[in-house]
């Protein structure tokens, strides 16, 4: 009986690990490819491991294809992603508190509109938003990518609302008696307790903004302003079949997101599931 259970457990773990390896195989293939020479990446005789580790792919890629190196593109990506993430967290937490805790006239209407906005795909508004930014003469700056993030992101507002609803109302009431008002309750009570939800928002919004391709494609055509995602595409187009440096830059571009995930992983899994829909 006992040995049977151990057998079953071992098979389970072996299966999960094997399947997990299959799932991250594309990533492994990319990372190994970034150290291979051109002839070993593709084709039927391509080895799994590089025969000679080509570390030079990294400096070769970093130089970029045009006037700017990837230092510029990474700097741009960090500016857009950090500002955007900061704006998302701040504004979404505010709106979530307002909608979840304050009983004001029109609350139900704004909540419904928020849910509808969440379900509205951004691509539908791609053209008119572009026209607006173009009329404001702001195409070719970071503003179209960053400013809207300071105005609440419905997906995260909804997630944080679910979290706030789970916090006992008595906390607010106790704080009121202690002399807090509804503004200081947000700063002193809700914001500190939102921790796991904020971390989830930081990680997910950071990687959504970092990975975003359409936004930079529309608004940042100037090479000096390009983000990593846009620059890699341009780099790949200009390199033809010289895949080593392209794989190297692809690998590099995933590292910030990956580090953030590694660092916050524990909280992330809790945050997503705590804030998710309840049947």
């Amino acid at each position: 009986m006992r040995t049977r259970r151990i057998m079953k457990d071992t098979i389970y773990h072996l299966f999960v690990i094997a399947f997990g390896l299959l799932m991250i195989y594309p990533v492994i293939w990319m990372i190994l490819g970034s150290f291979k020479m051109k002839s070993e990446i593709l084709g039927s005789k391509a080895p799994f491991l590089p025969s000679v580790w080509q570390f030079s792919n990294y400096p070769d890629g970093w130089v970029g294809a045009g006037m700017y190196t990837f230092a510029t593109f990474f700097k741009n990506s960090f500016i857009v992603s950090i500002l955007g993430t900061f704006g998302t967290v701040l504004s979404s937490a505010m709106v979530a508190y307002g909608l979840a805790r304050i009983k004001f006239k029109g609350r139900q209407m704004w909540f419904t509109l928020m849910i509808m906005t969440m379900l509205l795909p951004g691509q539908v508004l791609m053209i008119p938003q572009y026209i607006i930014w173009n009329n404001l003469n702001l195409v070719g700056t970071f503003i179209p990518l960053v400013l809207p993030k300071f105005l609440g992101w419905p997906f995260f507002i909804y997630m944080m609302m679910q979290f706030i609803r789970g916090l006992p109302k008595e906390l607010d009431e106790a704080a009121m008696i202690d002399g807090c008002n509804k503004y200081s309750i947000f700063v002193q009570i809700i914001l500190p307790l939102l921790g796991p939800s904020i971390i989830t928002t930081i990680v997910i919004s950071f990687y959504w903004i970092w990975d975003d391709y359409m936004g930079p494609l529309l608004y940042l055509s100037k090479p000096s302003l390009q983000t990593v995602s846009l620059a890699i595409k341009g780099f790949a187009d200009s390199q033809g079949t010289n895949f080593g440096p392209m794989f190297a830059m692809s690998t590099l571009s995933l590292i910030p997101v990956f580090l953030l995930f590694l660092f916050f992983n524990r909280y992330l899994m809790d945050g997503v599931t705590a804030g998710s829909v309840k049947g």
């Binding site: 773990h13 999960v16 399947f19 799932m23 594309p26 990533v27 293939w29 490819g33 593709l42 084709g43 039927s44 391509a46 508190y97 307002g98 909608l99 304050i102 004001f104 609350r107 704004w110 928020m114 379900l119 509205l120 795909p121 539908v124 508004l125 791609m126 053209i127 008119p128 026209i131 607006i132 105005l151 507002i157 009121m176 509804k182 503004y183 990687y207 990975d211 391709y213 359409m214 995602s229 890699i232 595409k233 790949a236 895949f243 794989f247 830059m249 692809s250 571009s253 995933l254 997101v257 990956f258 995930f261 992983n265 524990r266 899994m269 997503v272 599931t273 998710s276 829909v277 049947g279």
Partner: protein
């Protein structure tokens, strides 16, 4: 609580209506400027001939009538539906199976979930799209494997009926967030349901169909809607991996809108296209919501 006498300004500032609007102001401003006004603009331009830089010219329903004649647009609709009908169920089934696989409470559960979440973390990026293009390319490892099994001259991207497979797989591969949402739903199903069914002699398959699926149905609804919407508007992966080809086989609707707007500068036409797409999606979402009362199950 005792009511204290407050001066007019103080009571105005601390009035619930004021507080509510102060806190929701970011969303309200954002909604008006970046959702509502753009939607009205888009509706107006959809009745115009409009190029950026030149004034819009009112042409009535011409854009819409032209769209119904436009074979590129109808092709985009067909291939988008193909992508959604194959891709979304595949992703959801996959997410549910993995979520069930990873519910077993072991010490490594957190680690396994993290590993299985990695594809979602990076799958939407340009970097992965570029790698995917080579992975499934004619000299990449997947095609090499298929060829080693004896299939000759096979090529995903050279063939209109196979080109969408790598795109669908890339989407299904990013099952992570659906998986986490399913996992939290699975955790909420009371254990005694399963125990009672087992005593009644129900096998694991009938337990899955009679307990797991009905209990998860509200969550399936949520995941289905979210995935449908993102599926209908898929852009980045198709734009980079196949560029809509070969022969428009993966020229999805978002690509067509982008192309009409920014390559051909037919902004009005692209707006009309966006509106038709929005109406189609709203219709489908509405039907699913309406029908959901027949197939979702709420405990209370």
């Amino acid at each position: 609580m005792q009511k204290t006498h407050k001066s007019g300004l103080r009571s105005l500032i601390h009035n619930d209506n004021t507080v509510g609007y102060v806190f929701t102001a970011p969303f309200i401003i954002g909604f008006l400027c970046f959702t509502l006004i753009p939607m009205f603009l888009s509706l107006y331009y959809s009745f115009c001939e409009y190029k950026i830089g030149s004034p819009a010219e009112w042409i009535g329903f011409k854009n819409y009538l032209d769209l119904f004649q436009d074979s590129k647009f109808s092709n985009s609709l067909v291939v988008t539906f193909q992508y959604v009908i194959v891709g979304v169920p595949m992703k959801l089934v996959f997410a549910l199976l993995i979520a069930m696989l990873l519910t077993k409470p072991t010490q490594a559960q957190g680690f396994y979930r993290a590993v299985y979440y990695i594809p979602s973390l990076i799958g939407g990026s340009v970097a992965v799209a570029l790698v995917w293009k080579q992975l499934f390319g004619s000299r990449g490892p997947i095609v090499t494997l298929i060829k080693a099994m004896g299939v000759r001259g096979f090529n995903f991207f050279g063939n209109s009926s196979w080109a969408f497979i790598p795109l669908v797989l890339c989407n299904a591969w990013q099952f992570g967030s659906s998986m986490l949402i399913f996992a939290s739903g699975l955790k909420q199903i009371p254990k005694d349901y399963y125990e009672a069914a087992e005593i009644d002699g129900a096998g694991s398959i009938s337990r899955f169909f009679r307990i797991t699926l009905p209990c998860l149905s509200p969550i399936i609804l949520f995941n289905l809607i979210m995935q449908l919407i993102s599926g209908f508007m898929t852009f980045t992966q198709a734009q980079i991996i196949t560029q809509g080809g070969p022969n428009y086989a993966t020229h999805y609707i978002a690509l067509d809108i982008y192309q009409n707007g920014f390559s051909f500068f037919r902004m009005g036409y692209a707006c009309a296209e966006s509106w038709i797409m929005l109406l189609i999606m709203a219709g489908i979402t509405g039907i699913i919501f309406k029908s959901s009362s027949y197939w979702t199950f709420y405990e209370n």
